[in-house]
Symmetry: C2
Amino acid sequence: MGRDRGGARQVAITIKDVAREAEVSVATVSRALNGRDNVAPEVRSHVQEVAARLRYVPHSAARSLITRRTQTIGALLPDMHGEFFSELIRGIDRAARAQSYHLLLSSSHGDAGETAIALQAMLGRVDGLLIMSPHADPGFVEEYLPPTLPAILLNPVHGHTRLPALAVDNRAGAYAMTRHLAHCGHRHIAFIAGPKGNLDAEERLQGYLDALRELLPGVEPQVVPGDFSEESGYRAGSLIARQKPLPQALFAANDSMAIGCLFALGEAGLRVPDDIALAGYDDIPSARFTQPPLTTVRVRIADLGGRAFDQLVALVASDGQTKAQLHSVQMLAPELVLRASCGMNGSKTTSPTPLEEKKRTQIEPDARRRSTSAIPKNR
Amino acid sequence: MGRDRGGARQVAITIKDVAREAEVSVATVSRALNGRDNVAPEVRSHVQEVAARLRYVPHSAARSLITRRTQTIGALLPDMHGEFFSELIRGIDRAARAQSYHLLLSSSHGDAGETAIALQAMLGRVDGLLIMSPHADPGFVEEYLPPTLPAILLNPVHGHTRLPALAVDNRAGAYAMTRHLAHCGHRHIAFIAGPKGNLDAEERLQGYLDALRELLPGVEPQVVPGDFSEESGYRAGSLIARQKPLPQALFAANDSMAIGCLFALGEAGLRVPDDIALAGYDDIPSARFTQPPLTTVRVRIADLGGRAFDQLVALVASDGQTKAQLHSVQMLAPELVLRASCGMNGSKTTSPTPLEEKKRTQIEPDARRRSTSAIPKNR
DNA sequence: GCGCGGACTGTAAACGTTTGCAGACCCCTT
DNA sequence: AAGGGGTCTGCAAACGTTTACAGTCCGCGC
């Protein structure tokens, strides 16, 4: 079986080899292997058997040359670190494998220029593009993206774009957390803000402000500056610890700052949550290791990636026809993770609280993608 | 400029369009754009100008159909979380972009079967493969991998393989850390082990045992079981805290366990490092946030990925001829990160200590790839 | 003046698929 | 017995490149 072929060195098996071996034409092989219905059943199984025996793998370049499909989508991602990045990739990758698509990755783009170059390089090789670009102006995308290539933005969008987008609803998450703190009985809730230009940071701040205005009218908001770093959280924490009337609760725009803040509060002799409640945002892994464990807002990153991928494939499949319909911005609702630091829920267990519907298009809540594993695997 | 073309809907620009517009043959366009030298300079620049104006992008499938190169390498990775995964990808991606290669990613493989399927799917689409498979038997790789396709393993290898491999020298790292603890004056050093079947865990244990035997002859090793989880570290810590003669130092096979252990020691009223020194392995981000910051062993993951990629491309370029030469196992030396928890170095700053040469092939130390950023970026 | 070589350019084949079209065959109906 | 229809199969074109080969043109040396 599998007779030697004349040539000097072994070249890849092609459809012709299968055809010769199975004693049919290449057209029949193609039809049999691609599941067309106009093939006699016994011929089909024979061809399949021969193909398997020869370990035939279709040459994807040849195939996509004629079908004009690559079965590949590209992901253009910025320079990201840690859990956020890996979760996003995980979600995209899972969805891709489920649809038997391939994933062409290009990450670590520092600026719009790098992203544009990477975009160029991907042009012939993908059926669609997932683009995450924190750079203020996504105009370069419209500049370099061929109008026919489906693409989905993973950004918090700010203004006009002809591309559909998917984003985490930062504002809704911050709103919900603030509401939770209010429900705990806290009235004086201070907020440690993120860096100025950052869209995520500003949306979170907005959620805090909105909730305060709507749920605790008359209470003055207090915003302490920060920049998402642990150090800035530490500084904010020691500042607040010296405050004459201590706030009842402290809400940091991300977990890193909350952790830094926790250190500062501890140094000042304040106990969390007894003397002051604390909450963060992101649910980074360290959040569950702090003492006390940190109440925070979890963002289902893997879900975000998976959903974006599925939408993109739908766009690809529809050949750009549904494009007009899907030309929208969808928001993915985050969920609260209540741990001990807010004083409400002393247990260590996670109890997700679904958020209510927020403005713009909303995604139906479902949980088909598995929850992100809490404990980091080995290593 | 860019005159309308007759057809109904806009199809991609091909080399023929450029040829027609530039009034030369397609062969000349190809030669001009690919930098062949047998093209008149003025013709070349004219063609380049026209191609740019038409936004011509070569159809990569057509190109690789004939060149038999895809300019793409594939990465087959297991189901990984967090920093380790993202650093690895970052390193690979950077190297890929530097060599203008594309990266086809398939991750989250739970078992050998999934990896094999993913491998199959990638077969026609990549020039080479980077494979990381923690599954005990990499035999399936040899089974499904065409003999002509260059590939590099990212595993700690255990025994025979015809593939070149690159791995982190777990044993050397554990050895160096144990030596450091001994240099600090500790003699009774206990080790919290990782899960039984795990290769990383066993290599680390071996490093500890070797160091103890060679550097502190006569001292009895103490190995406490663990499974890499924070909980198991906690259990090990409370066990040890109750010990009659307390060990002077405690070395956990990974940081998660060290952190769990730290909690347990704290609950038992023991101060680190005054009452007992503590060290971990991996340098996960949380390691620098603990109180006191954790002394640990850092693994330059991004470097590992980048090196592996560069070697793979060299293999691809050499058309498999150097394969015999490169058929080796290279070890990447980790470095110590001394923080306060070991009692030696009270400062918070990282001071990497290069390791001495260890057995097998060793990689020349260089630091061309930038250090992994310490503080997690925004989000 | 003629041939020769060098520099450049064009023609066409090849890469491995998919698929429209047409042919072959068989069975059924008339 | 002839024709019609259905089912299956093969032929060959097409996809967009690269590149071997065969020119063409020009200048130069004889």
